[in-house]
């Protein structure tokens, strides 16, 4: 077991950025910390949190999933289309989740059975899912969803309903990662995949399951997003995987040695959500935001990585 003592480098990089943001954006405009705006951030956070939980599991195995942006588009479109053809909300949600899980499983199979590097396999499915989504909708939005479906994305029970759902997903996977043998395998596969295989653990099967989970949680995010927007579009989540990967890494999950976990990811997701919201709030033009956010994220990841490495050098 690792013994934990306090060290500033142990705190995920995201926490520092989050504090800095609260100070900076709070000084720029005090209303930023108003309950109304915080509620707004919670709405925006929910889909990203669901995707990031999946990304955490994938990255813990030293993998990567670039396909959530495409999967969410396709799953959202499928769920919305099922809903509009009067097949009921239950079937709609199920179809969205199933679409996500199916594509995730495809990712997993291509990676484990085909032996393809994850970033290429998932880059391929990113294109495929976007393409299929666009073909299904002819590039249009599927808008106007039933009110009970919208409740998932817009309702409030203290906090937004979609945020509760995302938190529940996170809690579920905290238990899975910490309390099930599958969770142990996830960390083991990231720590030393060869040793895991030699220990008699079915690496291919478990890894396929990991990517299936990634797809399934993209499906969850798709439902949350479609319900919030009252519409789905094949490209309405383009780039979300970058936010998710950034949230995971800033949250302290590392790309090697299978270290990290979901608490850090929650902080990372909050950081990204507050960053986007704060830039909006400070009146920065939307076109400026994309490169600025990219630079901030990559810069933060670099600093975070260097901190982790200096830590790793001391603690052997």
């Amino acid at each position: 077991m690792r013994h934990r003592r306090f060290d500033y480098r142990r705190i995920p990089g995201a926490a520092y950025i989050l504090v800095a943001q609260v100070i900076i954006f709070g000084l720029i405009d005090g209303r930023w910390l108003s309950p109304a705006n915080l509620l707004n951030v919670a709405y925006q956070m929910a889909p990203l949190l669901a995707v990031s939980v999946g990304a955490t599991v994938v990255i813990l195995t030293e993998g990567i999933d670039l396909s959530p942006g495409g999967i969410i588009g396709l799953a959202g479109v499928v769920a919305a289309m099922v809903l509009q053809s009067d097949m009921g909300i239950g079937l709609s949600i199920l179809s969205g989740l199933a679409t996500g899980a199916a594509i995730g499983a495809l990712n997993g199979l291509v990676i484990t059975v085909g032996g393809i590097p994850p970033f290429v396999a998932t880059l391929g499915t990113l294109g495929i899912t976007q393409g299929v989504g666009l073909v299904l909708t002819q590039g249009a939005s599927v808008a106007g969803l039933s009110s009970d479906f919208q409740y998932i994305g817009q309702g409030i029970i203290g906090l937004p309903v979609n945020f509760w759902i995302a938190l529940a997903v996170m809690a579920l996977f905290m238990v899975i990662l910490k309390r099930t043998s599958f969770g142990t395998y996830v960390y083991a596969m990231g720590g030393n995949r060869e040793a895991t295989a030699y220990a008699g653990i079915n690496v291919k099967g478990n890894l396929t399951l990991v990517y299936t989970i990634g797809g399934l949680l993209s499906g969850v995010a798709a439902i949350l997003m479609a319900a919030h927007d009252n519409a789905a579009h094949p490209r309405f989540a383009v780039g979300i995987e970058f936010d998710a990967i950034a949230a995971v890494i800033l949250g302290g999950t590392t790309f090697d040695k299978g270290r990290g976990g979901l608490w850090g990811t929650l902080v990372g997701v909050a950081t990204i959500a507050f960053l986007r919201n704060g830039l909006n709030f400070s009146g920065m033009h939307a076109t400026w935001q994309i490169p600025v956010i990219g630079i901030v994220i990559i810069g933060a990841i670099a600093v975070n990585e260097m901190m982790q490495r200096s830590l790793a050098r001391e603690v052997v």
Binding site: G115, I116, P291, I293
Partner: protein, 341 residues
């Protein structure tokens, strides 16, 4: 001694290209018109220039996901500068300088900070894309000075300029990879990063060079594309990344590094261009094309892996220097940074 199996291996790709051309010609006879064929070659030239940098990167066991966005950035930045009245050669140089700088940043982050290549270049993808959108501010630049247009539309001794550029780039890359110490080191780094480092190869500097070159070539492709279209917008990048990766992989360069080369990439680029051209001639919706490109990338890597597995079976007796134990077990290997230790 000529390695017969390797010869067949490389010929199989040329054969695939010829079969593909014949098939496209049958379903779309317009394919064979001389105008269309020259068009295909021009199109392929751009892809080859883009894919050449990518090939060098992949040979080191890395990846550059930012090439298409850097292409768009060069297009938009040079377009904006020329529209502002800056002389074309300064605009072109500035755009090339900018994408080269972005490549340098990629290289530094990967070699010095030691972040995984796909994270850094994926971040750069969004940063460059963001800047391209910002610079273009959703307008399309057009109407550039004739000397600039010459880069994409002109002829040198009757050969279209993009093809001239492509030939120069491919020849230079081939020479670099096969006739210089740097080239050997690139292969060595990809085949076995630890061995390369331990045998005294300056892995860091080489990685920085390779990613910088990739940024430069992406910028060059962006300039030629802008000159050919006589227009620049941030939209151009969307459809370039998947085909470029596919071209490299189809060309036989292993995503795990250390195997492959420029000749294969040239053939792979031609295959991808003919495929796209054929789909265009058949009026297939661009939405389906995206799906097709994604499928081609995955299938190409699968086939490549299969062929390699067969090849390995044939030479079990003499294990290659670069072969990795994980690969033979069939487990995915993460070709992250080539300097992992």
């Amino acid at each position: 001694m000529i390695d017969i199996r390797q010869l067949l291996f490389s010929l199989s790709r040329v054969l695939a290209l010829l079969v593909l051309c014949a098939a496209v010609a049958v379903v779309a006879p317009a394919f064979l018109s001389s105008q269309n064929l020259v068009n295909v070659l021009r199109q392929a030239s751009l892809m080859i220039i883009l894919a050449t940098g990518l090939t060098a990167v992949i040979l080191t066991g890395g990846i550059d996901l930012s090439v298409a966005s850097l292409l768009a950035l060069a297009a938009c930045f040079s377009g904006m500068l020329m529209t502002e009245g800056i002389p074309w050669y300064l605009a072109a140089l500035a755009a090339l300088g900018l994408t080269t700088f972005c490549g340098l940043i990629n290289g530094l982050m990967i070699a010095v900070v030691r972040l995984p290549a796909f994270i850094v270049t994926y971040g750069m993808l969004w940063i460059a894309q963001g800047f391209a959108v910002l610079v273009a501010s959703s307008e399309v630049f057009y109407g550039f000075p004739p000397p600039f247009l010459f880069l994409g539309r002109g002829y040198l001794f009757g050969i279209p300029m993009p093809i001239v550029f492509m030939t120069l780039v491919a020849a230079a890359a081939w020479t670099l990879l096969h006739r210089t110490p740097l080239g050997r080191e690139i292969y060595a780094m990809g085949a076995n990063p630890d061995a390369a480092r331990l045998s005294g190869i300056d892995v860091k500097t080489n990685l920085i060079k390779v990613y910088t070159a990739s940024g430069f070539l992406a910028g060059l492709a962006g300039l030629i594309l802008t000159a050919r279209m006589n227009a620049a917008s941030a939209e151009v990048s969307a459809d370039q990344l998947l085909p470029a990766v596919a071209a490299v992989v189809i060309g036989g360069t292993s995503l795990f590094g250390g195997e492959g080369g420029i000749r294969g990439t040239v053939v792979g680029s031609l295959i991808m261009t003919v495929l796209i051209n054929g789909m265009n001639l058949l009026n297939i919706s661009p939405f389906w094309q995206l799906t097709a490109q994604g499928t081609v990338v995955i299938v190409a890597v699968l086939l490549d892996q299969g062929a390699r597995a067969l090849e390995r079976r044939g030479e079990k007796r003499r294990p290659k220097v670069g072969s990795r134990p994980e690969a033979s077990v069939g487990l995915p290997v993460e070709p992250t940074s080539a300097v992992s230790n």
